[in-house]
Symmetry: C2
Amino acid sequence: MKPYSIRSNEELAAEKKELEKKYEEFKARGLKLDITRGKPSALQLDLSEPLLTAVVKNEDCRAADGTDCRNYGLQNGIPEMRELMGQIAGAPADQTIVCGNASLNIMFDTVSRAFTHGICGNTPWGKLDKVKFLCPVPGYDRHFAVTEHFGVEMVNVPMLPTGPDMDMVEELVSKDDSIKGIWCVPKYSNPQGITYSDETVRRFARLKPAADDFRIFWDNAYGLHHLYNDESKQDKLLNIIEECEKAGNPDLVFVFCSTSKITYAGAGVAAIASSKKNIAEISNHIKYQTIGSDKMNQLRHIKFLKDFDGLKAQMAKHADLLRPNFEMVYKKLNEHLGGLEIAKWTEPKGGYFICFEALDGCAADIVKMAKEAGLSLTEAGSVFPYHKDPRDSYIRIAPSMPPVHELEMAGDLFGLCVKIVSINKLLAERA
Amino acid sequence: MKPYSIRSNEELAAEKKELEKKYEEFKARGLKLDITRGKPSALQLDLSEPLLTAVVKNEDCRAADGTDCRNYGLQNGIPEMRELMGQIAGAPADQTIVCGNASLNIMFDTVSRAFTHGICGNTPWGKLDKVKFLCPVPGYDRHFAVTEHFGVEMVNVPMLPTGPDMDMVEELVSKDDSIKGIWCVPKYSNPQGITYSDETVRRFARLKPAADDFRIFWDNAYGLHHLYNDESKQDKLLNIIEECEKAGNPDLVFVFCSTSKITYAGAGVAAIASSKKNIAEISNHIKYQTIGSDKMNQLRHIKFLKDFDGLKAQMAKHADLLRPNFEMVYKKLNEHLGGLEIAKWTEPKGGYFICFEALDGCAADIVKMAKEAGLSLTEAGSVFPYHKDPRDSYIRIAPSMPPVHELEMAGDLFGLCVKIVSINKLLAERA
């Protein structure tokens, strides 16, 4: 298609008129479409039905070591789940603590703990005048919300196709000891679907931060969440825990993971993994917080998933359900916007999101316009700290939840909105 | 039996010789008895087997409002569980937040939140030079451990048969604005099994603390945990939330409760209840911490327990299992120690503990001696802040877990140890 930028005002006005007619038709249909959050679909959740009957009798309630999972104890999780979650995180079982139902909760608690008690003998962050976090952007809104809630100053770091801009990361952390952490979603990142390159992971592992208590918050939420079951089409991520060990920086990273998008988003199992030293410290802290997380749910999970192979088999079924959704969005974006040079978007091979980049100053208007015709999109700006997208350009698309036919409609409507808002911008610029 | 204090040295020496012979016989048996922690027995846990099959099909997974409990959402819990937990706590559903598997976790988080963010607009406790908590003693070791972990200065308040010494509580909180809280187990208290009198509850509700952010941490862990199903033998506790409202102090109290000793100790459901204002603030904070607790477990619980009547029926079954255990300990203590005037103990009508009071300076020795013959008791001192029992006198007995025949042996052995240590003390005093 002919790029909008080289079309005449008359051509654009004519195009706009036609688009607006279609937009009004959409509006008249009273649609209710929602692609805001990365929630699994009901069909995906249905995959875990055997979880419901994995433990049904009193005599089923023992962990491998004989522990009665119904009773108190085993603060750090049942051994077999520590092993499985460790495999997801890339750490041995004894460097993995299995917690409750959400990795967000562990991340929050990890930040909170650093504020109240400090990390490895360093001053609690709450006693410092300033604490900063690096935030690769665009990124995950709930990460940014946690640090904002604790009054952390967030510093944007651009995402490149290889991961965060490591030149900038290295420079900042080596010079400024008030920088205490960085939020990372290293595989199929939220929202771009980027997987950090081997070189990026190694540069992370070799960081020489000015602050002793600088930690990489490595939220490997989508570690096994491929869209394609052919391994050649799957992104690969280096094991950060191993790389940190090799680099002589074993304590540099906290790895978070969960089964939220493997079994149940609201009732999965989450874990934190790190060096022996970090894990000993965390374990020594959470002993005041809990006698132990829900071991019955851990037991259900291990009986259902069985082992790492079972887990991969489960992920292959998710891929089969998710792939058509993503491919529908890719198809619609290309169909409506290909060649117009008014937008860019990622086409990830995994994860839960697509990152859409409109012309500068257009994102909020697109979201508003879509909303008025019944399509809910994540609020513009939400992929940036403080909800401030400096260019008002990024929109996160979450295609996992709706059925494909709804995504088809959503794609058509979204395309219209992007085109109308872009024409408005181009015409305004020329006026 | 003739009190030891009026027996001659010769009589005591002869008694001791005989007791030591029996003690050596016990030692030779290589027993392994454990009455340290308030854990439910396997038989009690077996009562909740239907919980395991309460939700077995994909189509069972919806809450009453249609929410798919497998997915994200409903941060404060599913409506029907908020209602049931609210009934346990004595609060309406909309003043109750259902959380994860442990009230300890909620209490820890509540203290932590006060340290990082403050309560209702007041200075975060972490920014204050000194924060103090009142600790009715003897009390629950895990409460004291939480506040100790946060560097809170703990001030002992004696427990009376009516609850904490309210003259002292009123005086302290009205004068000292660094006193920010008090730990309470108001019903069948840990470890004495005392239930606060109506007057005590009303005096709590009418407190006029110097600190705006003073809160009563009301851990109603044993609210329904009677040993006798005849209502006339059950302790009654006033509703603190209602009393605080009546007194014009609605924000004064945080109530904590859980199903840990109703269903599963390691996999139950816990909740916090308070005023509308407090709950709004907590809700607004935990939205950064979690998208929601495990709703599947909430759903299992409501399908199993059904309603407050169902819950009471479940508690009656627990009572039938627990009562013989407590009564065996009461019997053995009376049999071995009655009339000797070397010990006092409580005989609660509910809860999980018996509080044993030895002669001053004897508790640690009794615990050590019992341990050497194979009987594990909670560490002496553990019922006091900083593990310091000023009189070295209190021992907490937890009779819930072992079978009755083990409690019988434990009672015999414990009686021996108490008598030998007491004779040693009396003889040493006379020397």
